[in-house]
């Protein structure tokens, strides 16, 4: 079932790559409390990735598990959206990325709880609570930084601006996404675009910020055409399993 495999890679890779990015913060956050929450979110995401990628491997039926998929594919085979691979930048940029992504992921997972694929439904049911927390935490930071000092406001504006270009990709419905939605396995993301926009604008309003200007969408992640960042992420992520292909850990 190639489309289902692909769809699961998208779900798994989104969580994996964002979890990896958040892991980069470890020990370098603005406060111990923030360090703790970032590790916490990363942990949730790595957990989701593990479930989705293990399931992808099972669906593929070629003996690959989540680890094989996480550590032994190169960029062209990664299916995450471009948003999650964007650099951490400063804390505002990280929170802007998290907010734009988690708001979307929550709406998605809410729908996936009724997926006809039982594993997807079960993972989504558990993950939706985690993601609700990610959304809340990041929205709070968007508001706090947007409505904090001059400097934090400027940084939040830049952070949103950096990531805004990658939002349209989240709502793309290509062949795989359409087939999955039709089969009742995936969700039609366009159905919650308006909800998403409403949530985003509401938080931006509370933060006293305007939405960045729209531009030509940047697409490609779902087909393996990524930004230049993913290749560097994979160098680090995959080093050990690539270097010691015979070993188990």
């Amino acid at each position: 079932d190639r489309p289902l495999f692909d769809y699961l890679l998208r779900l798994g890779d989104d969580s994996l790559i964002l979890g990896q990015r958040l892991g980069e913060w470890c020990g370098h956050a603005p406060s111990v409390e923030v360090d703790l929450s970032l590790a916490n979110i990363a942990l949730d995401l790595i957990g989701q990735a593990t479930h989705f990628l293990n399931h992808a491997g099972a669906v593929e039926g070629r003996g690959r598990d989540g680890d094989a998929l996480a550590f032994h594919r190169d960029v062209l085979d990664f299916r995450n959206c471009l948003l999650v691979e964007q650099p951490n930048g400063d804390f505002a940029q990280t929170m802007a990325r998290q907010f734009l992504f988690s708001t979307w992921q929550k709406l998605l997972f809410e729908r996936l709880t009724t997926s006809k694929d039982e594993t997807i439904a079960a993972v989504a049911a558990k993950a939706v609570k985690e993601v609700a927390y990610h959304e809340e935490l990041s929205a709070e930071w968007v508001i706090r930084l947007g409505d904090g000092t001059e400097e934090s406001r400027r940084r939040m504006i830049d952070g949103l601006d950096w990531n805004w270009r990658f939002v349209p990709e989240l709502f793309e419905m290509d062949v795989v996404a359409r087939e999955m939605a039709e089969r009742g396995i995936g969700a039609d993301v366009t159905a919650f675009r308006a909800d998403y926009d409403r949530k985003i604008r509401a938080v931006l309003e509370q933060a006293g910020l305007e939405a960045p200007k729209d531009q030509r969408p940047i697409l490609g992640g779902r087909d393996g055409h990524h930004s230049e960042h993913l290749g560097h992420i994979l160098c680090t992520l995959q080093f050990l399993p690539r270097t010691y292909p015979e070993a188990t850990w």
């Binding site: 994996l16 979890g19 990896q20 892991g23 980069e24 470890c26 020990g27 370098h28 956050a29 603005p30 406060s31 111990v32 409390e33 923030v34 360090d35 703790l36 590790a39 916490n40 990363a42 942990l43 790595i46 957990g47 990735a49 593990t50 990628l53 989540g66 680890d67 996480a70 550590f71 400063d90 804390f91 505002a92 508001i143 706090r144 930084l145 409505d147 904090g148 000092t149 400097e151 934090s152 940084r155 680090t236 992520l237 080093f239 050990l240 399993p241 010691y244 015979e246 070993a247 188990t248 850990w249």
Partner: protein, 309 residues
């Protein structure tokens, strides 16, 4: 003097001293130093492990490591809180760390070179930490003792996970075995140093033991650690890098070689192999993100004002 006598009697009776109770200044000072040093160690200790979060070799190991550093951040938080009950703010403690006035465990001034080091840290460093901390669950200062109860439970979990990594590598491919043995070679002596200078050079021990801030001497704890750890190394086929190590039937424990105290004191002085890196990482995290803390404060202020209006 009356107060002091009452205080000493309570301590001697193994009662807990609580934040509002009267206590001698030296007790407050010593405890503040000890607890904040412990808190700093938790926070600085995230760095050597954080160095491998992005490179953990499987999804499971990555999740376990993330959970571990999250626990460490949590320990840092309760310990800072416990120290704050003694009247020093977290801000002050952090500034003391960054200025080099406050210390943290010497062990975190050594680099994590390979994944095996993550195993070694869990096994040896958390193992040594537990050895130090278990008695502190009965320390005389209530908030500290209660923090230690929680910390110890989690640390022993970490220690088992660390040992499991070591076991896996020691039973793995030749490269993994080599990596693991090399990690033990590098971490062994620094772990023994974690118990502090020899009793003969530790003038404050007597006072601290009388105050129940410490319940065993450095050398006692060190001996206990060696006695427990050596068989664990043997069990997985690793060799402790000490040619003088030998079971001593008479004392019912191991004799072991001389620790390089010169290295220890150099590391205490801030000359450890990655001391500069650790302090830079912590200072950068603090200073480069000052704007975040300022923004949070400004926002809280605005909000309070709005709510008041």
């Amino acid at each position: 003097p009356e107060k002091l006598a009452a205080f000493e009697a309570r301590v001697a009776a193994d009662e807990f001293i609580e934040p509002k109770d009267w206590m001698p200044e030296a007790y407050r000072r010593t405890l503040t130093r000890q607890i904040s040093q412990h808190a700093h160690s938790e926070i600085v200790g995230m760095l050597p492990e954080g160095n491998w979060i992005t490179r953990a070799p499987s999804l499971r190991r990555k999740a376990i490591l993330l959970a571990k550093v999250q626990d460490e951040a949590g320990h840092g938080l309760y310990l800072y809180s416990a120290a704050e009950t003694l009247g020093t703010s977290r801000q002050e403690m952090i500034e003391a760390l960054h200025s080099g006035k406050a210390k943290y465990s010497t062990i975190f001034n050594y680099p994590t070179l390979t994944w095996a080091d993550i195993g070694a840290i869990g096994w040896l460093v958390d193992g040594a930490a537990i050895m130090n901390q278990v008695p502190l669950q009965r320390t005389s200062y209530g908030p500290y003792a209660r923090a230690m109860v929680r910390v110890c439970k989690e640390e022993s979990f970490h220690q088992r996970q660390g040992y499991e990594i070591c076991m896996t590598l020691a039973n793995g491919t030749p490269e993994q075995k080599r990596m693991m043995q090399d990690a033990l070679n590098r971490w062994w002596w620094p772990s023994l140093m974690m118990f502090g200078p020899p009793d003969a050079d530790s003038p404050n021990t007597a006072q601290s033991m009388r105050w129940r801030i410490k319940r065993d001497t450095n050398d006692e704890l060190r001996q206990k650690f060696v006695d427990i750890t050596v068989p664990q190394a043997d069990a997985i086929g690793l060799k402790v890098p000490d040619p003088d190590l030998k079971w001593n039937d008479e004392k019912g424990g191991y004799d072991f070689g001389e620790i390089d105290w010169e290295e220890f004191y150099a590391v205490v002085k801030g000359e450890g192999p990655v001391a500069k890196e650790r302090m830079k990482a912590r200072r950068d995290a603090w200073e480069n993100n000052a704007w975040v803390r300022e923004a949070a404060a400004a926002y809280a202020g605005k909000r309070a004002k709005r709510e008041a209006a």
